[in-house]
């Protein structure tokens, strides 16, 4: 018995000796191997920042989803082999893939036949379903572990078409060969131009995971963490409600007027913050495919010739330099000769006695050119520059056009016959509205902005720098011009009616200016007599400005009732704004002024 006892103890000691070998001498090498088999680098996604409007309502945000993928070739081999080895115990691949496809149809609502075609293809790797709910993906991968689920994110645009031309669209990119860099990136709009700010930096960490399932992290094994830095949220100056109203009504109006396209902007009269920036065409970024034409933002990228709206430059300059006063009376003939060109008014008339106000309210080309001549080309050119024409506003949207103003040195004799009446130069609807913002803001132009702030992942809010205001004219000049332009909406009996009495809003004083610009006929390279840009710029209310509205319609049917003026749309927009922001009524009614002396 002693022998046995010794034998037993020796047996135990032998295992102890082997333990010393395994747990001490060979431990580092073995540990390194075991570490390799179970540690996994887990990518930590950086959540792409949201884009919200000025009230915090989201225009775009990210949602985590899964994409299911499969290895048909390898799985076919594996299942068929298992079925051949243990018949009855395992399905063959045909039966197994049918089960999987059916289950996917039940859980995900996808078409089983489509799935089956993918599963039974000869490909090495296929994506089965994109962008599905993580919990549903989990249901599938739990039952069919050979289906792998990639973590992805999709961008959700809760407003669909709302502000889509501004916000743009981001989608999942896999062009980088390093899969860790696969992420959401912007395709258009702010999603594209602010990509660096929105995207953030993905991180990673090393964890130990369960055998066969990298999704199960063993508790307490997270290490070497490089934290992901989420993207910043971007706060826009857009007001979603106003944007929606403008988009809907602009599109409806453009349709009614038969316009090829239309753009409009609403900005704050004092800060230049853009409350709404709309085009008649927009797209739904939630849909899988987009109409390229609708993705553009012509409001900032397509300049046009403004027409009579540009007469405000002459108005400002002539008041600023003391050339005239609103009530001064001018003799306005039916036409005027500038260099080698003869310019007519929009309506034929003989010699008229018009007040300065009347010249602008009735939009007399001849009267405007007379005043412009007295301002002189140099001071006029300087005023164009100070109003920001020919320069980008720097609103913060991609693809902004600076418009075009011929440099003073290249002016021909007739140039000065064109520019004061808004032909021969081009501007975006933003630039146009910005000119009127100068008038509304007592002579200080604040370049328009659409990005209000960045909200960092830590919650800190970084206000975007406010652009420096530019003093364009003396405050009194701006007020005088603003008051003059009230007459545009004056609905007095002939001949004291302005060009846009439809723009008037009962209870509010409203300033504005209509414009009708001839487009170039691409065939003849001359100004067309049927294709126009119909424009309108307005200030609400004129006595205490809150908003500036700019509208442009491209090639409406000029002969149709809605095709020759954008004033009715301005009226609707102004009415909406007045209600939405509870704008106090003007203290006094707009005084009726004399535009034209009776002949």
């Amino acid at each position: 018995m002693r022998v046995v006892r010794i034998l037993l103890v020796i047996g135990l000691i032998a295992t102890g000796v082997k333990l010393v070998q395994v747990q001490a001498f060979e431990a580092p090498a073995l540990s390194a191997k075991s570490q390799r088999q179970r540690s996994a680098t887990v990518d930590v996604q950086a959540v792409r920042g949201s884009i919200v409007d000025r009230n915090g309502s989201p225009l775009a945000f990210s949602v985590e989803v899964r994409t299911l993928s499969y290895r048909p070739q390898a799985m076919r081999k594996q299942w068929d082999q298992a079925a051949a080895k243990h018949p009855g115990q395992f399905d063959n691949y045909e039966a197994h893939s049918a089960k999987l496809a059916q289950r996917m149809q039940d859980v995900l609502g996808v078409d089983a036949h489509q799935m089956l075609a993918k599963l039974r293809s000869a490909a090495k790797f296929v994506y089965l379903v994109n962008n599905i709910d993580p919990s549903k993906a989990r249901t599938i991968t739990d039952e069919f572990p050979e289906v792998s689920a990639e973590v992805r994110a999709v961008r959700d645009y809760p407003g669909h078409n709302l502000a889509s031309n501004i916000v743009g669209v981001a989608n999942w990119r896999m062009d980088d060969p390093d899969t860790r860099n696969h992420n959401l990136h912007g395709l258009s709009g702010l999603e594209s131009s602010l990509d660096l700010m929105l995207a953030g930096t993905p991180g990673h960490q090393v964890v130990d995971t369960e055998e066969g399932d990298d999704g199960v992290v063993i508790p307490g094994t997270v290490r070497q963490t490089q934290a992901a830095v989420d993207g910043s949220d971007v706060v826009l100056t857009i007001d979603g409600d106003v944007q929606y109203y403008l988009q809907e009504h602009l599109a409806a109006f453009a349709k009614k007027a038969g316009a090829h396209s239309a753009s409009a902007v609403i900005m704050d009269a004092h800060t230049g913050e853009v409350y709404a920036l709309a085009n008649d065409k927009s797209f739904d970024p939630n849909k899988p495919t987009y109409d390229n034409a609708a993705m553009a933002n012509p409001a900032v990228s397509n300049p046009y010739e403004p027409g009579s709206v540009n007469k405000v430059v002459t108005a400002l300059a002539s008041i600023e330099y003391g050339i005239t006063t609103p009530t001064a009376v001018h003799e306005v003939p039916g036409q005027i000769q500038v260099a080698d060109r003869t310019v007519h008014d929009a309506w034929s008339h003989g010699l008229l006695q018009m007040t300065t106000t009347g010249i602008f309210a009735k939009s007399s080309n001849v009267g405007t050119l007379e005043l412009a001549q007295r301002v002189g080309p140099d001071r006029f050119s300087d005023m164009l520059k100070r109003l920001g024409l020919g320069q980008r506003t720097g609103i913060g949207l991609p693809g902004e056009s600076p418009g075009s103003v011929p440099p003073r040195s290249q002016w021909s004799g007739s140039t000065f016959g064109n520019l004061p009446i808004g032909q021969g130069l081009s501007m975006t609807v933003l630039q146009m509205a910005s000119m009127y913002q100068t008038v509304a803001n007592d002579g200080v132009r604040v370049p328009p902005r659409i990005i209000s702030a960045e909200v960092r992942p830590d919650g800190s809010r970084v206000q975007m720098p406010r652009p420096q205001g530019i003093r364009v004219v003396k405050p009194q000049t701006a007020i005088t011009v603003r008051n003059m332009l009230r007459a545009v909406t004056q609905g007095a009996p002939y001949p004291n009616s302005g060009t846009a009495p439809q723009a008037a809003l009962p209870g509010y004083q409203v300033s504005g200016k209509t414009g009708t610009a001839q487009q170039i006929n691409p065939v003849t390279h001359t100004y067309s007599n049927s294709n126009y840009w119909i424009t309108f710029a307005g200030i609400l209310p004129a006595d205490s400005p809150r908003f500036v509205v700019g509208i442009v319609l491209d090639r409406p049917v000029y002969t149709s009732p809605d095709g020759h003026s954008a004033a009715p749309l301005f009226h609707d927009v102004a009415s909406f704004l007045a209600q939405k922001y509870n704008i106090p009524l003007s203290k006094t009614e707009t005084p009726v002024v004399t535009l034209q002396l009776p002949s």
Partner: protein, 500 residues
């Protein structure tokens, strides 16, 4: 404990001893040794040691099952995270009842029941192969009754040990002939082996083989026989291995390590787990291997998880506990005088410790993988229940040490005994001898054919004589065993032969 230590006079616990300990560092060691010896010299020391080891193993086992099983448990359809652990706890509760039964039922009753137990297990081993049994993981090894699953092979091990010892002890001197040594124990054992291999259950067969070899060894079978068995066993292993793919791959894997995939996967994962543990371990519950890396981590390979979570120190603790079983079990065997108790205690001890050594051996990579569980620690219902029954019988044997019998009979059952309502143990009553077949009773071994017992040239009595400590029972101040009642108190030699 060695006889030498046990033999120290208890009366030496005087002040001189402690004084000495204060004076010399050497004396302090001696003092500790002395106190230890004094404690071990108490009549119920073996009994208390068995209880202590069982308690420690049970707690350690439950703790490790709780740590190892949640992942596997949660992945099993229809179970929660704690299902395996709760089952194990219930089995330990059931095992505690069996432990108590094994401790309480008088040994002579157990002995008299052993032939029926043997018959019953053989029948149940046959029944399990019929549709009455259930096939789990490719082995027809289980009876499934409601939520319970029972493996009859575990009971077969115990029955073989009890019945084998009974038969061999009854045969007595007849064992000198090969015929009596081998029949009927070996044929019955072979029948059981065959039945178990039909399931198939290699691990169960190996353990049964260990029980058989232990029985033959303690019955005093000649070494030559073991040589034959070893050769036959090796041939059997080769045959079995070649006959079955998974066993062959296990053996090949053992002979040619380094292959990380396939058959070697489990062994390698066990080594990884042990290596990750290092000296102090990752900490209880922190093991990584249980996250599906190490298959069967909660039963066959739980020792690897002990190594990973509790480190080398935890492993040494487990090895130490099983070494303690070896020492205490053999001490119980040596100190008893009833030859059946001696043989049963020794065989059960060998079974438990060998099973642990084989399990730990293959976990650390010393042996090829066989599905043998680690007693008391591996999750597994029948194994734990039967092991606790074995501990109960072992503890019962400990209470039958003559000194314990005397103490219990003279001083009452003590607190523990009262609590468990343990009956006083019966003193050994040697069987009435039949008249010897020969006129005289020559020294044992003297009449053996030389061919059978060539190595044993010295008669047993003569060989044993020097080992008997003349101080026994006389100068130790113990309560002397009741000599008058049986005339053979003290430490007589076993008349029925066998190894000491």
């Amino acid at each position: 404990m060695t006889r030498a230590m046990r033999g120290r006079p208890a009366s030496a616990a005087t002040k001189s001893g402690t004084k000495k300990a204060e004076e010399h560092p050497r004396g302090r060691v001696a003092g500790v040794k002395f106190v230890l010896t004094a404690w071990l010299g108490r009549p119920l020391a073996s009994f208390h040691l068995v209880l202590a080891v069982l308690g420690l193993l049970t707690v350690l086992g439950l703790t490790m099952v709780l740590s190892a099983s949640p992942v596997v448990s949660a992945k099993t359809p229809g179970s929660t995270v704690y299902t395996v652990f709760i089952k194990q706890t219930l089995f330990v509760a059931a095992g505690s009842v069996l432990f108590w039964i094994g401790l309480r039922v008088p040994l002579r009753v157990i002995r008299s029941l052993s032939p029926y137990a043997m018959l019953g297990t053989v029948l149940s081993l046959m029944a399990v192969l019929t549709p009455l049994g259930a096939n789990v993981n490719g082995a027809q090894s289980w009876f499934i009754v409601g939520p319970l699953s029972i493996q009859p092979v575990e009971f077969a091990k115990l029955a073989l040990a009890l019945w084998g010892a009974h038969v061999l002890v009854v045969k007595g001197k007849a064992l000198r002939q090969y015929r009596h040594m081998l029949v009927p124990v070996v044929p019955v054992a072979l029948l059981i082996f065959a039945l178990v291999m039909l399931q198939p259950d290699l691990g169960g067969t190996v353990t049964l083989g260990v029980v058989l070899i232990a029985l033959l060894w303690f019955a005093g079978a000649p070494l030559r026989l073991f040589g034959t068995i070893a050769a036959g066993g090796l041939a059997g292993v080769v045959l079995l291995a070649v006959g079955s793919g998974y066993r062959l791959s296990r053996v090949v894997n053992f002979l040619k390590p380094g292959d990380v995939e396939g058959a070697a996967f489990q062994s390698n994962q066990a080594l990884y787990a042990l290596a990750d543990g290092g000296l102090f371990g990752q900490g209880l519950g922190e093991g990584r291997s249980k996250w599906e890396y190490l298959p069967n981590v909660q039963n066959d390979f739980i020792f690897a998880l002990i190594g990973e979570e509790l480190g080398f120190l935890g492993c040494v603790l487990v090895l130490g506990l099983f070494a303690m079983i070896a020492v205490v079990g053999m001490r119980i065997a040596t100190r008893n005088i009833d030859p059946w108790i001696r043989m049963v205690a020794a065989t059960l001890t060998v079974w438990l410790v060998a099973q642990a050594a084989i399990n730990i051996g293959y976990v650390v990579g010393l042996l090829p993988v066989t599905g043998i569980t680690l007693p008391m620690i591996s999750a597994g219902g029948t194994s734990v229940v039967v092991t606790m029954l074995v501990f109960g019988i072992l503890a019962n044997c400990a209470r039958h040490e003559p000194e314990a019998v005397a103490a219990l009979r003279s001083q009452g059952p003590g607190k523990f005994g009262t609590l468990l309502r343990l009956p006083a143990p019966d003193p050994y009553n040697p069987p009435v001898r039949r008249k010897p077949a020969r006129p005289s009773n020559p020294p044992r071994g003297a009449d053996r054919p030389t061919g059978l017992s060539g190595r044993r040239t010295v008669p047993v009595e003569l060989r044993r004589e020097p080992r008997r400590d003349p101080r026994h029972g006389s100068r130790r101040g113990r309560v002397a065993p009741d000599r008058t009642a049986h005339g053979r108190g003290g430490y007589p030699r076993g008349a029925e032969g066998g190894r000491r």
